[in-house]
């Protein structure tokens, strides 16, 4: 058992057969690849939902906050201490619904975090209402006449906002998920990994076999072609799996922050500068 798995017997509260289990395994494998030395620096920031419970089932630092708000917290954690490995994780409702505004603006910041979204196209924890990625026409308890809105397209939006790492995987394809997650966590900059997965309890349309039939793995795709990536993201018949787009070497948020220009020490190790403060006060005399 790896350092990233809880030692005490943890009762994982997901439904048997849920796609969250293989995602968890893939995440552990990603974490193991960071080495156990990294452990004290690895921080999960999550919202609320089935997906967002993930860090409770790992052996990691975590801040399990509010539904929809993980990205705001994650961004600040990274700003306050750029040496942390920050992973924001949650469901499609969490991240693209309640958290939609943070989604679009966190991408704009190009903050160096890994963003894992469990996309089961449904609200799981609240028992089966439409999520932003639910397909039009889907019948749910709140949409008994079918979902009206068009599904949210997280990848196309991320590409539109200049994201430098945009990927999609499927929980059932663990080797792909693992490898994409590892690339994402090593990417310097905001990295989106949208992980499709079945919700066996509530999503009776997008089942495991539906995903198998409606996805394909990217091969020979030029990951430096943003427009090509966008066209892929806009495909509706079948969803491509893999890395859609990546761009290395773009400065990240903390590269621009004045307080880190000459000194990379995290904020918690610093004290206010007494002399400067006194001088500032004196400037009001």
């Amino acid at each position: 058992m790896s350092a990233y798995e809880p030692v005490d017997g943890i009762d994982i509260s997901w439904c048997p057969g849920c796609g969250n289990f293989p995602i968890r395994k893939s995440i552990i494998s990603m974490l193991v690849s960071l080495g156990s030395d990294a452990q004290p620096r690895v921080v999960f920031i999550t919202g609320i939902g089935q997906a967002a419970k993930m860090p409770h089932f790992l052996h990691v630092n975590f801040f399990n906050g509010l539904h929809g708000r993980a990205l705001a917290v994650a961004a600040a954690v990274k700003m306050a201490n750029p040496s942390l490995v920050v992973i924001a994780e949650g469901g499609d409702g969490d991240m693209y619904g309640e958290g939609g505004n943070h989604y679009i603006h966190t991408i704009r910041r190009n903050i160096d975090i890994t963003h894992i979204v469990h996309n089961n196209m449904i609200y799981g924890l609240t028992k089966g209402q439409a999520s932003p990625t639910s397909q039009s026409g889907m019948i749910t308890r709140v949409q008994p006449h079918g979902v009206i809105s068009r599904p949210f397209n997280p990848l196309a939006v991320a590409l539109s906002l200049g994201a430098t790492f945009v990927a999609r995987t499927f929980s059932g394809d663990m080797p792909l998920t693992e490898s994409v997650l590892k690339e994402a966590v090593n990417h310097r900059g905001y990295a989106l990994v949208d992980v499709l997965h079945p919700c066996v309890s509530f999503n009776k349309i997008n089942t495991s076999s539906w995903f198998k039939e409606h996805t394909y793995s990217l091969t020979g795709h030029d990951t430096s072609d943003r427009n090509g990536a966008w066209r892929l993201a806009m495909e509706e018949e079948r969803l491509a799996l893999g890395i859609y787009y990546r761009e290395e070497g773009v400065p990240v948020f903390s590269d621009h922050l004045a307080c880190y220009q000459s000194d990379r020490t995290p904020l918690f190790e610093r004290r206010p500068d007494e002399e400067k403060l006194k001088a500032l006060i004196r400037s009001f005399v």
Binding site: N64, A76, F268, P272
Partner: protein, 570 residues
Amino acid sequence: MNRPYDFSRNEDISIIISGAAGQGIKTAESLITAIIKRHGLYCFSCREYMSRVRGGLNSTQVRVSADPVAAWRDGIDILIPLTPDLSRLDHRISDTTLIIGDPSLFTEGRTGIAFSFDEAAGGDGRLYNTAASGLILALLHIDFSLLSESLNERFANKSEKIRERNLTAARAGYEQGGALLRDGTVTIALEPSPAPRSRMIVSGTEAVGLGALAGGCSFISSYPMSPGTGVFEFLSRQADAFPLVSEQAEDEIAALNMALGAWYAGARGMVSTSGGGFALMGEALSLAGVTETPAVIHIAQRPGPATGMATRTEQGDLNLALHAGHGDVARVIFAPGNPDQAFRLTARAFSLADEYQIPVIILTDQYLVDARHTIPPWEDPLAGYASHIVETGDGYQRYRYTESGISPRGIPGFGRGLVRVDSHEHDENGRISEDWRTREKMVQKRMKRLEQLAASAIMPSSHGNPEAATVVVSWGSTLGTALEALGKSGAEQIHYLHFSQVYPLNPALRPLLQRADRLVVAENNHTGQFADLLAVTFGRRADERLLQVNGFPFSVEYLTSRFTRYRRPV
């Protein structure tokens, strides 16, 4: 010759400059107050302005005195209207008001001295304010050299031409002012002294900002909202000199969640907003509560509901500050009475937040943040600074039960332990718990600290006669006005208490309130929110509530007239 205006017996001169947004009234205010202080007089200034960028009608009050002065007066001694429009000031003009400006204004019994800003400014509308500054400083017997120095400093980076034109306009105003003194039209006799010269002129905004730095603030995330934006701007400007991250959040919800993230990672985060922005932060405040994450929240109040009056003042968000967030959340609320308290309490907010792992709210208002006071500089600003973060070891428990309810706070990346913070009800390890016994213990744990916080809560400052039958209470920005009114109405019949900490309240207060024959609470809101808080805390309902909700602060005149009534026995 004009009618003589004799202000020689005035303890202070209340000067109002009015004009449209964009005419540089604020610039004039900061220019002349600095010079007046350098000259050796005290001043207090405050603006009232419309929610627009150009046009409309705004004004700034500058009160000048040989003694400290710290309150808003309705009355106007000298009115300097840069535009010939008095519509929004008419009720404040009396027959002793000297108007200096366009003679078309001298109607309806109003008198004054004709003055053409346009002429003094050489026809340049942008220089009216400089001309007015010259005029005012001359009337105050202040040496022109102080003004020319200041102007040269201010325009050091501008072209020679700009500097020259400003100096010319200033001189034109100055000379006319001097002439009015010399020919006896105006008499002003304020004696300068050295004391003010070593003081600062500081606004509430600046004081909160400086206090934040003294409290070790290293992170500010906010979304602009008047009148809370000033603090955000002030701290943003310090982000290179101090270890400080400033980030404009996409909305207020993000702002407070970011501040919590910053504290989680070991920084000291703050947000600055107004009531409407804070109304969006309730859920995050609740998150601070359940996760025991510190936070500092500055709310500069303005009249609501909703957009209300964006640039006016009110004390209407106390109830919201007290009750925002769902579920039980321990918190502290400070309400500084002036910039000095604003500095000290903001610094203290960071210490308390860190020590008690709670959100601390600083409740100011437009009146306080915009007002500028002449006060002594703060020595030893970091005296109260301390950090309570612990290095974690193996098996670290973020929510370990302790006597006080407060568990040692670790942060990720400092020590070998893991820091698990959770918004559900949780056990000592931060794991989700649905055990009802754990629930009960955790609620107790989180709320227990309120007792300690109450026991050590700052007592109100006490003024007037502690034996008086009438006890007058006020809080926050009303301090200066109430004190001046107290002095003017005769302090013997009133025991005045000013609260700079409004929650929790110290139990030691009970006898102070209980002994009152007449309890009067003065506050700038519609219902008397603090009076309600006193009633629910101590079971003592106010006998009288002095309330005001018109967008202005209490004036010295109003409170004086009210206080005067308390000379009569209860």
